[in-house]
């Protein structure tokens, strides 16, 4: 069976969920071979093996943290040479897409980004994408070279499938351009204790209707009652009420959770572009004419300052 390279997104050896989803999808196409780079790379092996990696190629070097993107491209290229895979899968983060793009160019391959599903086809993997603010669904494939495909978080349910997960050291020679862009400083984002926005199964977002940074506390309280991530519309972010890192929409994060709850968000096309693939959509808005109501499975026309705290209270009561 053909091998499929899977780029591992991890933090000091702790594998992030989108990579486990990729391993599930990779098994539809072939045998997953994971590539883990940087500090803690080998520590990922047990988790990756549990989720179907037949092999884990690892390489640790300071370059991965000290320089932008290119060292990781060099490593994936080395892995491609070592394995000759049927496809390369990378999580669709901003960095993941850049890594994948440069790799595809080097391999003389096409690239597909932001796939929401993946299946085996007669002429190679077929990727489903959701385009034009999710108003269209396309099916595409790479027609030249080794298919390089990035997949959005929450595109597949994680299914464990124990495999050998044999760890092998990858031999990497860095290219001349690897050290071109130096990372001169790094400030870790403070953890809120909430799930990551793009990975969360439930997202609770606030918009213009929240009307002030201090009022985001009620959005956070609802999120915490559900174990959800907090999102914000561009209007709320531009007003300075919530950090840009939590912005959902065309110029922020694209999310695709099981449940999306929009509070005080009218649903402009730019926002819809970032959340329309959510499985279940709920909105709370005073304006019955707000376009968000065209998308909802359940909508409440009402004041979020009444509805959201009542909802939070009811959830807490039910959960005991």
């Amino acid at each position: 069976m053909a091998e499929v390279l899977v780029y591992v997104d991890h933090v000091d050896g702790s594998v992030r969920k989108p990579t486990l989803e990729l391993l599930t999808l990779a098994r539809r196409i072939g045998e997953p071979v994971a590539v883990a780079l940087g500090n803690g790379a080998a520590d990922t092996a047990a988790t990756l093996a549990e989720h179907g990696a037949v092999k884990v190629l690892t390489h640790e070097a300071a370059e991965y943290a000290d320089y932008l993107v290119v060292p990781k491209v060099d490593a994936l290229q080395a892995a491609h040479e070592a394995v000759s895979p049927a496809a390369v899968l990378v999580p669709s983060s901003a960095e993941g897409k850049e890594i994948a793009a440069r790799l595809a160019l080097r391999l003389g391959s096409g690239i597909i980004t932001d796939a929401v599903d993946l299946e085996a086809g007669d002429e190679g993997p077929v990727a489903t994408q959701s385009v034009f603010a999710a108003s269209f669904t396309t099916k595409s494939r790479v027609s030249k070279g080794t298919p390089v495909i990035t997949v959005k978080p929450n595109s597949a349910a994680v299914e464990p499938a124990p495999a050998a997960g044999a760890v092998e050291a990858l031999n990497v020679t860095f290219s001349d351009t690897a050290t071109g862009t130096k990372v001169t400083g790094r400030t870790q984002r403070e953890s809120t204790g909430r799930p990551d926005l793009t990975e969360a199964a439930i997202v609770v977002s606030g918009g213009r209707g929240v009307n002030g940074a201090e009022n985001f506390a009620i959005i956070e309280a609802l999120a915490d009652s559900l174990g959800a991530a907090v999102g914000a519309s561009r209007a709320a972010v531009d007003a300075g009420w919530y950090p840009h890192s939590n912005q959902v929409g065309q110029t922020g994060k694209s999310v695709s959770p099981q449940l999306y709850i929009a509070s005080g968000i009218s649903g402009a096309i730019q926002h819809r572009a970032g959340m329309q693939t959510s499985k279940t959509i709920v909105a709370i808005n005073k304006d019955a004419e707000a376009p968000i109501f065209d998308l909802v499975d359940y909508g409440i026309v009402g004041d979020l300052f009444d509805v959201v705290p009542a909802l939070t209270e009811e959830i807490r009561t039910r959960k005991g």
Binding site: V11, L68, V69, V70, V73, K97, E98, A100, A101, R102, A104, L105, R106, T113, V126, S130, F132, S135, F136, T138, K139, S140, R141, V142, S143, G145, T177, G180, K182, V183, T184, G185, R186, Q188, R189, D196, L226, H244, S245, Q250, T251, I269, V282, A288, F293, L295, V296, D297, Y298, G299, I300, V301, G302, D306, V307, L311, E314, I315, R318, K319
Partner: protein
């Protein structure tokens, strides 16, 4: 010393319009108005700010690849304050994918001459966000991408990249390819004076032969990816919408419980 900045911009279908695919599964440009991709306005803005903060002479060229109408995007950028424009237009470009677009852009900026290329973080139609990285790979120069802050001094570009887990400070020597996010700074509106001045600014038109490119290297024929199918997403079935009469929170909790979210 002088600094040559090339800003790559894209002419895109208006996202608030009714976007569709044409029969060949490329974006239908006839049924919806086009405009300068909003995210590219931030790239033009940063080029102008770099110029305003520089002691050296700075020349800003805006570049687009696209059909005749794409000149509108160039005019907008010129009216904001860019100095000149290059329009790459050729019937054979229709259907070019990201890999091909990066090839055309690389050939064009090499021919035009550059110290710095600035792009928006992504186009608002394809939204891939990979062209700046592809362009850097082709040109063999550093990529300094997704910046929410950018500055240029003494042949070095510096910036801040806000990622999911951390903010990184980046630094690279020129020449380089930069992309900027919508957090980099509000883009200015063209002034009346700017709009009038833009009409007199030079717009060069280049085709594939000017770039020593063959038709089969680009376009649908040269594409590395194939779209087999594009289907309009079925309209969502009408959801339940209720007016809050004091029980809205409880009703919503009931719905969420029914869906097993609680």
């Amino acid at each position: 010393m002088s600094l040559r900045i090339v800003v790559t911009v894209k002419y895109v279908p208006d996202a608030t319009g009714d976007r569709h695919f044409a029969d060949d599964l490329t974006v239908d440009r006839d049924d919806v108005d086009g405009l300068l991709s909003e995210l590219d306005e931030y790239a033009v803005e940063q080029a102008l700010r770099i110029s305003e903060n520089s002691d050296d002479a700075v020349e800003i060229t805006v570049l687009t690849v696209g059909p005749e109408d794409a000149k509108d995007a160039l005019r907008k950028a010129l009216s904001m304050g860019a100095d000149k424009a290059i329009h790459v237009e050729d019937d054979d470009i229709h259907g070019t994918d990201a890999i091909g677009t990066s090839l055309i852009l690389a050939k064009t900026v090499e021919k035009a001459g550059y110290d710095l290329v600035i792009s928006g973080m992504a186009s608002t139609d394809g939204t891939m966000g990979v062209v700046p990285a592809l362009l850097a790979e082709r040109l063999g120069v550093p990529q300094v991408t997704l910046l929410s802050e950018v500055s240029v001094e003494d042949g070095t570009v510096k910036g801040r990249r806000d990622g999911d887990a951390a903010s990184e400070n980046l630094e690279a020597s020129l020449p380089a390819v930069v992309s900027v996010t919508d957090q980099s700074g509000e883009a200015r509106y063209p002034s009346f004076k700017g709009i009038m001045a833009a009409k007199k600014k030079p717009v060069e038109s280049w085709d594939l032969s000017d770039l020593d490119l063959e038709a089969e290297e680009v376009g649908l024929e040269g594409a590395y990816t194939t779209v087999d199918n594009a289907a309009e997403r079925p309209a969502r079935t009408a959801g339940t919408i209720v007016k809050d009469e004091g029980e809205g929170g409880k009703q919503l909790a009931e719905f969420l419980a029914g869906q097993k979210f609680i």
